[in-house]
Subunit: 703 residues, 2 copies
C-alpha cells in the first residue's frame, strides 16, 4: 500500500494535546483512505448503480460516513448547527438491506458525486474544528466528547470494508484497477487440509471497560467459558476444498442445508460461491475487489454462513465425524492456542490484515501460527454464534441502535478480520455480525467437535407486555413504591416465620421474580404461568442468570436494560426453582402438596376464579397458606361477569370481591390476618405508569 | 278502615326503649297491612298472572318485601345468616319494568302462595328479633342499625301502594271486594274547573339532615327557588274534564302529544285512560282497585304523565293560554299557599290520604284548602319535573340504587300522595318518580304560566371517560399528588405575576377545572375542548354550580359524587369563564388576542400538533405565554407517526418531543424556564390509577 495505515489509538496514555494530534491524524488517514477507496470507481454512473438489488448505490455510502459525523456531533451537542440538513437526512439511514418499497427510486434524488465530495470537504473542516475545540482529557472515555470523534472514525472504517464488498459486486466495467489497491499475485495448488487438535481451556470474552482503545457497545461486558477440546482445520477452507462440495452436488442437495439456507439457495438459484465467475471452459474465474482473475484455488473460499454450514454438513456426512463451524468461544480458544491471544491490536506480523499486505486474500498457506493458518486475517471466518451482548452489556446513548437490532439470533458473528479490516475491526475484542446470507470478505474454518452448539435465545425482549413485566419484576422502583414481588415474598416469609416450607407455588408467576424471591426461604418453588411468553423470562434467568429487555421511553424510542440474578443476590437460588407453563384451572397432577401458594394479580384474570379455588384447594397441605393478591380489576375481557367473585350486584345487593372470597373459601380456609393493600407500579413509558393497590388476603387451610 | 294506620315515627325524640316499641308496632302494622292487601286476591292463580305484561306477577311482590328486609340486614351485618337463600335470590330483584327476556317464564319457578306466606312468617320473626336486639339510641340516624329496619318498613309501604296498582290491573275476577278496602260511595256531577292565582314566592325543597323522620336518600340536600306567580286549576282534572279532551280527538291528534307521548299512544293504541272501561252503551265505567263501577265523573282522572301533558297542550291550543303541569317547585309553592306547607306528616285532616278515607279516590270537591282541592291526597299529581338529587345529595350506602337509576331525566316526580300513600310517602318531603308512561294512582292539576320549564340535564354523569375526568379535575387527591389542574393554574399564576391577563385560553379544557382556576387571576378565560361530552360538565358547573358523577369502585360497583364550585371557592368566577366546543387546529376567529394559552395534556392527542402550533401562534399576543403540558404519550390512534413532534428516530437519530418543540417554536417563542415535570393521577377504580408525569414547557412569544 502506498498510504499509511494507522492503528486505532490507545486512549488511556500520553499527553492530551499529543493525543489530540494523534486523533486528528487518525481521522485524516481514515477520511482519505475512504475517499481513496472510491478512486476505483470507473465513472460517476457507477455511483448510482445498485451493486446489490436490496442496497443503496455507492453514492449513499460516500455521503453516509460524513453525515454520520455531523448527526452524532449534533446529537452530542458538540456542534451547534448542521452543514446540509437535506444531505443529513437522505444519507442518514439505509445502510442495511431494505425492503423494495424503501428503495423505490422516486424516493431518492441523489446529489451528484461532486456535490457529495464538496459536502465531504465541508464536513471534514467541521470535524477537524471539533477535534481542535472539544475538551480532551486522558483517558478518553465512553462519555467524552472525543469518543464521538472516534465513533465517527471507526464507523467510517467499517464502511471502508463494507463498501469494498459492494464495489466487488458492481459490474467489472464499473470499477478499475488502482495501484494503491493491488491484489496478491501469489497462488498455486491448494494444500490438503487436515484437522488438528485444539486442547480445551477457559476463555474470557469481552472488552474490559478500562481497555485502551475505542470499542463498540457490544464488545463490553464479560463472558467466561470453558471450551471443550476440539479439532480445527489447519487451513481456512480453500476454493479448491470447497470445489469438492460443489462437485458433490452441494448446491442441489437439500439435506445438507439448513431450512434457512435452502430457502436462500432456492431464492438465489445459487450453484456456486457468488464471486466464482463461470468461464467458457467450464472452469471458474474469481471476481476480486476490482479485477477478475484465474481462480486462485489455494486462496480461501468466500461464502456466506449458509453455504459454509452446508459444506460442514456435507463434510459430516462424508467423514462420519461431527463437523461444524466454530463458536465464538472456540475461535477465541484457537486464537490463544495459536499464540495470538494477547494482542490487543493486530498488525501485519500476524497475517493478511489491516491493509498491510494486499487488496485481496492470499494463499491459505501464507500465514501460519502454531500450525494454524489465518487464525487472524485474510478473510473473516463465520461462526455458529449469533451475536448478542455479553453480560454487562449496555447501549451507548449516542448510538443506541448500533447493536441491539442485530441481537435477534439472525446475525452471526464473523471473527478474525480480512485483508481490509482496520482500526477497531482489527482488534482482538472486535465483534461484527451479519445476516447469515450476507456476503463479506468472509470464508470459514471448519472444526470437528462432539460438543453441541447451544444457540441462546438471547434477544432483547421486545414483546411490549413481557418487557413491561420484566421492568415491573426486575427493574427500578418508581414513586417510592418498593418492588411488589419482593414485598409479596417478604410478607409470605413473615407469615411462614419458623415453618419449614418444603414446596411453594407461585401461580401466575409472569416473569418470575416472586418465584426466585420465595426460594430465599422455601426449599423449592414452582413458578407457573399460562403464558409461555412470560415463562421464557424466568427460564432464561434461571439458565443464564440475566435477562434483557427494551422498554418504551417516549413514542417509539426505547431504552435497553439488563438485569442479573447476581445483582439481586438471587444467584444462589437458581437450583431451587422451576418454571412451568400451566393453566391455574387445570394444573398437572404433579403440582400438589404445597405449604404455600402465592397468586399475585391472578384471580381477576382467570376465566373462572371459583373453579380455580376448587382446583387449588386439594393441592394445599392442611395448615398451608393460600396468599391472594389482587386489585380486583374485573373485566369481561378476561372473566365473564357471571364468574366474577365480586364487584357486582347479586340479588340486587353490592357484593365486593372480599365478600365473594369469604363465601367461597370459608370455612375450609381461615382468614389469617386483616386484608391489606400492597401498592405496585407498572411503567408504561418514561412518564406514564399504572399505580395500583393489590389487596392481599391470607388464607390458612384448616380442613 | 278497620285497621290502624300509623304515621312514620319521629326518630329524634323520646325514650329509646319506647322508640323500640314504637318501631316494632310500626313494623307489625305495616307487615299486616301489606298482607291484608293481598286478601283481595280471589284465588292462588291470581298471584301468578301478570297484571302488566312487563312486570312480575303478584307472588313476586308478596315475597319481595320480606326478602328486602333480610337482604338489607345481611348487608348491614345486622343478622348473620339467611332465612332461605333461594327465595332471597328469586324475590330480590325485578320490581321495575323488565325486558321480555328477563321475564321468560322458564327462568322463574315461583313457590306457592303458602310457601311464601310461611317464609314471611319466618322473616317476621327474624325482623322482630332484630328490632329487639339491635342497639338503639335516640336520635336514630342514617348510619344506625334501626335505620335499616325503617328502610324495610318504608320499602314495604311503597309496595303497598304499587302492588295495589298492579292488582287494579288484574282481571276483575281475579280480585274480590274486601270490607277493609271499601271504596268511596260519593260521586256526582263534576264541577266546572277554573284557574286561580298562586302568588309567587320562595320555596325551600329538601329534607334537612336533622328532620325527625326516616327519609330516602333523594329527599336530602337543599334547593332554594324563587317561584314566579302562576294560576292553578282549582281542582284536579276530573274524569269529566278529561272526557272533553277525549271527545275532542285527544287520542288521535298527534300534535298535542310529545314525541315520547305519541310513541307510547301508538304502541298501546290507547283511546282513553287505562282504567276507563268502555261499556256497551258507549259510556265508560271505572275500574277501581277491586271493583268496577259506573263512571264517577267528579273523581280525579287517573292517567300517566304523557296523557296529562297531551291534555295540557290541547288546553293551551283551545284556550290560547300557556297551560302545563306544575313543576316540583310550583307544587311546593301551592302547598304553602294552601296552608299545608308546615306539616311534616299529613294525616286525614288534610285529604284523602294515608288510608284515612277510602280505598279509592273521591270527588275532587271533597277536600279543599284555601280554595284548592286535593293539594294533598286523593291521587298523586304528575309534574313537569324529572327527578334528580338536590344539591348535597348522596346515596345511602346500603341502598345505593334506590334513586340514582331514576336520575336519568326519564322519571318524572309525582307529588301530593294518593288515598293509599302512607308512612314516608305521606310526608311533605317525600319524592317519588316514575317513568312517564307508568300508571300509578295518579292524575294531575294543570296550571297556566308564562314561565318556561327548564329541564336540567341533571343526570349522574356515567359516561366512563367523562366521569373519570370529573374525578381527575374535581375529585380527591391520590397518592399525595396535588390536583393537576390546580397546580397548572398556580404555576401559570406565578409565571404571570404582576401582569394583567385580560384573556386566557384553556385549550383541551376537558371538564374545565383549569378554566375556573385560571379565572382566579385572569379577567376572562375561555375553555375549549373538542369533545362536547367534556364541555357539558364545565357548562353545568358554570350554570348550576355543581356536577355529579358516578365512578367505578370495583367491577360494576360505582360510587356517586357531587362537587360544587362553592366547595372549591370558585363560585365567584362563574361570570369570568366560558366553555366552547372547538378544534385546536381550527379555532373560530373570535378566539384570539390571548395573553396566556394553557394546553394541558393536549399536544399528544392532536392529529397534527405542528398545525396546531402554526394555528395558535397568531392568536397569542406578543409577550404572551404558551404553556404546554404533556406526558408525550404518542399513540398512532391519535396522531399519525409522521406528525409526532418527537419520540421517534429522525434520520436515524433519537428526537425527543422537547427537541421537536424547540425546533418548531424557536425563535418565535423563547423557552422561559427549564422544563419541569408535573405529576398527575387519574383514578380508574378504587384500586387502579394512572400515575403520570406531564412535562411543562413555558414559551414566551417574542416575535
Amino acid at each position: 500500500m502506498a498510504f499509511k495505515v494507522m492503528h486505532t489509538p490507545p486512549l488511556d496514555t500520553g499527553d492530551s494535546e499529543a493525543k489530540r494530534d494523534e486523533i486528528r491524524r487518525y481521522f485524516r488517514t481514515t477520511w482519505e483512505l475512504y475517499e481513496k477507496l472510491f478512486e476505483v470507481m470507473a465513472c460517476d454512473e457507477a455511483y448510482f448503480l445498485r451493486a446489490d438489488p436490496l442496497r443503496h448505490p455507492l453514492i449513499f455510502y460516500l455521503g453516509h460516513t460524513a453525515v454520520f459525523f455531523i448527526n452524532k456531533l449534533v446529537l452530542a451537542k458538540s456542534i451547534s448547527g448542521r452543514v446540509n440538513p437535506g444531505f443529513e437526512s437522505i444519507f442518514a439511514i439505509g445502510v442495511d438491506e431494505m425492503s423494495w418499497d424503501d428503495l423505490d427510486e422516486k424516493n431518492y434524488e441523489w446529489p451528484t458525486v461532486s456535490e457529495v465530495m464538496a459536502y465531504r470537504n465541508q464536513v471534514r473542516a467541521v470535524v477537524e474544528k471539533a477535534i481542535d475545540d472539544l475538551p480532551l482529557e486522558i483517558p478518553v472515555g465512553w462519555d467524552d466528547p472525543h469518543w464521538v470523534i472516534l465513533m465517527g472514525i471507526e464507523h467510517e472504517r467499517i464502511h471502508l470494508e463494507t463498501s469494498s464488498v459492494l464495489m466487488r459486486q458492481l459490474p467489472l466495467d464499473m470499477v478499475k484497477p488502482h495501484p494503491d489497491w493491488a491484489i496478491c499475485g501469489n497462488s498455486g495448488e491448494a494444500p490438503a487440509n487436515e484437522l488438528r487438535d485444539v486442547p480445551g481451556g477457559k476463555v474470557v470474552l469481552g472488552r474490559p471497560a478500562n481497555r485502551a482503545h475505542y470499542g463498540w457497545d457490544n464488545e463490553y461486558g464479560q463472558l467466561e467459558s470453558d471450551v471443550e477440546s476440539f479439532r480445527a482445520s489447519r487451513y481456512l477452507a480453500s476454493n479448491a476444498e470447497f470445489r469438492e462440495f460443489v462437485e458433490a452436488g452441494g448446491y442441489i442437495t437439500e439435506r445438507w442445508w439448513t431450512p434457512e439456507g435452502w430457502d436462500w439457495r432456492s431464492y438465489r438459484q445459487a450453484e456456486h460461491p457468488a464471486f466464482w465467475i463461470p468461464a467458457s471452459d467450464k472452469e471458474f474465474r474469481l471476481r476480486c475487489f476490482v479485477e477478475e482473475i484465474a481462480m486462485p484455488w489455494d486462496w480461501p473460499v468466500e461464502v456466506n454462513q449458509l453455504e459454509a454450514k452446508a459444506f460442514c454438513n456435507w463434510k459430516t456426512e462424508t467423514s462420519g465425524r461431527p463437523v461444524r463451524l466454530p463458536t465464538e468461544e472456540e475461535w477465541y480458544r484457537l486464537l490463544e492456542v495459536a499464540g495470538l491471544g494477547d494482542h490487543a491490536t493486530w498488525d501485519q506480523s500476524h497475517g493478511n490484515i489491516n491493509l498491510a499486505g494486499y487488496a485481496s486474500p492470499c494463499p491459505v498457506t501464507e500465514n501460519i501460527s502454531a500450525g494454524f493458518g489465518d487464525v487472524v486475517g485474510n478473510v473473516w471466518q463465520w461462526t455458529e454464534t449469533p451475536i448478542s451482548g455479553f453480560p454487562g452489556f449496555r447501549v451507548h446513548p449516542l448510538y443506541d441502535d448500533f447493536s441491539t437490532p442485530t441481537f435477534d439470533t439472525r446475525h452471526n458473528l464473523i471473527k478474525g478480520g480480512s485483508w481490509i479490516s482496520t482500526g477497531n475491526e482489527a482488534t482482538r475484542d472486535s465483534r461484527y455480525a451479519f445476516r447469515r446470507h450476507f456476503y463479506q470478505h468472509a470464508g470459514f474454518r471448519y472444526i470437528e467437535s462432539e460438543t453441541r452448539v447451544e444457540i441462546a435465545e438471547d434477544i432483547y425482549e421486545s414483546d411490549a407486555l413481557v418487557s413491561q413485566y420484566c421492568e415491573f419484576h426486575y427493574g427500578q422502583d418508581y414513586y417510592g413504591v418498593p418492588n411488589f414481588m419482593v414485598t409479596a415474598a417478604e410478607i409470605c416469609r413473615e407469615l411462614c416465620a419458623g415453618r419449614k416450607i418444603a414446596r411453594a407455588l407461585d401461580l401466575g408467576c409472569a416473569t418470575g421474580r416472586a418465584t426466585f424471591e420465595l426460594a430465599r426461604f422455601c426449599d423449592y418453588v414452582t413458578g407457573i404461568d399460562f403464558s409461555a411468553r412470560f415463562i421464557k423470562v424466568g427460564h432464561l434467568l434461571q439458565k443464564k442468570g440475566y435477562t434483557r429487555y427494551a422498554i418504551p421511553e417516549e413514542g417509539e424510542l426505547v431504552s435497553y436494560h439488563e438485569k442479573s440474578l447476581a445483582d439481586m443476590d438471587l444467584d444462589n437460588v437458581r437450583d431451587k426453582v422451576e418454571f412451568r407453563q400451566g393453566d391455574a384451572h387445570n394444573l398437572k397432577e404433579q403440582f400438589t402438596g404445597y405449604d404455600l401458594v402465592l397468586a399475585c394479580n391472578l384471580i381477576d384474570r382467570l376465566y373462572d376464579p371459583s373453579l380455580f379455588i376448587d382446583h387449588i384447594t386439594p393441592r394445599i397441605n392442611t395448615g398451608g397458606l393460600l396468599v391472594l393478591m389482587s386489585p380486583y380489576t374485573w373485566l369481561e375481557d378476561f372473566t365473564p361477569k357471571d364468574k366474577w367473585l365480586g364487584g357486582l350486584k347479586i340479588d340486587g345487593e353490592n357484593v365486593t370481591t372480599l365478600d365473594g372470597l369469604r363465601s367461597r373459601l370459608e370455612p375450609g380456609f381461615r382468614l389469617v390476618t386483616e386484608p391489606r393493600d400492597v401498592e405496585f407500579v407498572i411503567r408504561e413509558t418514561a412518564r406514564k405508569f399504572q399505580h395500583t393497590a393489590s389487596q392481599m388476603t391470607v388464607w390458612e387451610k384448616v380442613l
